[in-house]
């Protein structure tokens, strides 16, 4: 189609350029052009959070964001959390505390928790439940997700040089 905009942003540390129609949703650009299929589409009305990515230090629902709005942005998706072959503490904790079942909400959930722990490194159970309430999970009942986030928080805190 005519009327394409070239948009540049960094995705998990890499510079990317895409030529998109203004109406193209970020989730489609990520999944179909940039083949980052970690973020998923769950509800399309910005309720479920399966499409959550980290954009300029904010957790955003990429199904309710236009790619053209992302010019110059710095983005992190689930694919960017593992560093040098080492899983992020959250990824490890979700595994160790059985914080996932079908895995569909997991990328969005972990990406959201990643931002939460940067804003609040030592959240209470209440705070975790409140600040992940933009992410729906149909399998786990959240109990083990909360455990996993708490465990990751402790691990990250311990890793900080005192």
């Amino acid at each position: 189609m005519a009327n394409k905009h070239v948009v540049s942003f960094t995705l998990n540390g890499k510079e990317v350029d895409v030529a998109v129609e203004p109406r193209e949703l970020l989730i489609h650009t990520l999944r179909e052009r940039l083949l980052h299929t970690g973020p998923h589409i769950g509800c399309e009305t910005s309720h479920c959070g399966a499409c959550t990515v980290d954009l300029d230090g904010m957790s955003v629902k990429s199904c309710t964001m236009l790619t053209v709005q992302c010019e110059g942005a710095s983005m992190v998706t689930i694919e960017g959390l593992e560093q040098g072959g080492v899983l992020h503490a959250l990824q490890q904790a979700f595994h160790e505390h059985h914080g996932l079942q079908c895995g569909y909400c997991t990328p969005g959930m972990i990406t959201r928790a990643y931002r939460l722990l940067q804003e609040n490194p030592n959240p209470s159970e209440e705070e975790i439940r409140y600040w992940i309430s933009g992410n729906l999970c149909r399998c786990t009942g959240y109990q083990n997700i909360v455990k996993a986030v708490q465990a990751a928080a402790q691990k990250l805190a311990a890793a900080q040089p005192a």
Partner: protein, 287 residues
């Protein structure tokens, strides 16, 4: 759930944005956080030919103190309100209100200006601003004008905002020290709009109501100022009789639309209940 095609504009100055609005008129829509507009576009209820993104205009964000007012840039996000130390200190009602808007992700993107100019009585800021007696700075080709919240909300999705105008700033009078506050919101779940909600500011003098402000969310075509309820409370202690009368008078002005949250009767009753609870909580917080 795919929007229809449109032209995208990202002006970097307010005059440019206003010029674009003037050029495209009805064909254009302003894009702030996008969490009201984009879902409507994905459902193809809204099919603007031009989308004007306010996101690249400097100076539309931020919270500052100006004399006896707090000024909030229209593009300030809900989470910025939630985390603002200044607001927590000067206008805690807005922090409490913002905390229960939508969900964390939506609050990162959703803006106070978008929430207000959308003109949806189900949004929370309209009633909050009504309770705070805030004013809105509207900028258009013909310059700037300031409209009181009380004069701004005209009907369902209908506001004083004229074609070609942009809401740039919200001016909130700082309630006097000792003023109690509360936003009591009943909703089905996180992410939902209010079944009913009440915003209250309350000042006591010797245990009697000296000043009170009550506004209701999602109880009619516009946010509602419960003037009669306010009047009934002045000079009285917040006893059961006073609370009941205030709640009843608040319910009297409600004309809620039935939906899956409840029928008109329930929503009216909940508007009364939220008013009562907000008054009680505000009293606890009043000095």
């Amino acid at each position: 759930m795919i929007p229809s095609a449109f032209e995208y504009h990202a002006p970097t100055s307010l005059p440019d944005a206003i010029a674009l609005l003037g050029r495209y008129g009805d064909e254009a829509k302003l894009l702030a956080g996008g969490h009201s507009l984009l879902p409507m576009m994905k459902l193809r209820f809204a099919t603007p030919a031009h989308l004007i993104d306010l996101g690249r205009i400097p100076g539309l964000r931020g919270i500052s103190e100006a004399g006896n007012e707090i000024h909030i840039g229209a593009m300030t996000t809900e989470n910025e309100l939630v985390w603002s130390k200044l607001l927590a200190q000067k206008v805690p009602l807005l922090v409490e209100g913002a905390r229960w808007i939508a969900d964390p992700q939506v609050r990162y993107r959703g803006t106070v200006g978008g929430d207000i100019s959308h003109g949806d009585p189900a949004n929370d800021h309209p009633a909050l601003m009504l309770a705070l007696d805030a004013s809105f700075v509207l900028r258009g080709a013909r310059g700037e004008r300031v409209v009181k919240a009380a004069d701004f909300f005209l009907g369902l999705y209908a506001t004083e905002l004229q074609a070609g105008e942009v809401l740039t700033r919200i001016q909130v009078p700082i309630p006097p020290p000792g003023t109690g506050w509360a936003y009591e919101k009943l909703k089905r779940k996180i992410g939902d709009f209010a079944t009913a909600a009440a915003a209250v500011l309350l000042a006591l003098d010797g245990g009697r109501v000296a000043r009170v402000s009550i506004a209701l969310t999602n109880a009619g075509a516009t946010p509602l100022k419960a003037a009669a309820a306010e009047a009934s409370l002045l000079g009285r202690a917040l006893d059961e009789a006073a609370l009941s009368e205030a709640a009843r008078l608040a319910m009297d002005i409600c004309d809620p639309a039935a939906d899956q949250r409840g029928d008109a009767e329930y929503k009216r009753a909940m508007a009364g209940e939220m008013t009562r609870r907000a008054l009680l909580k505000a009293r606890e917080r009043a000095a």
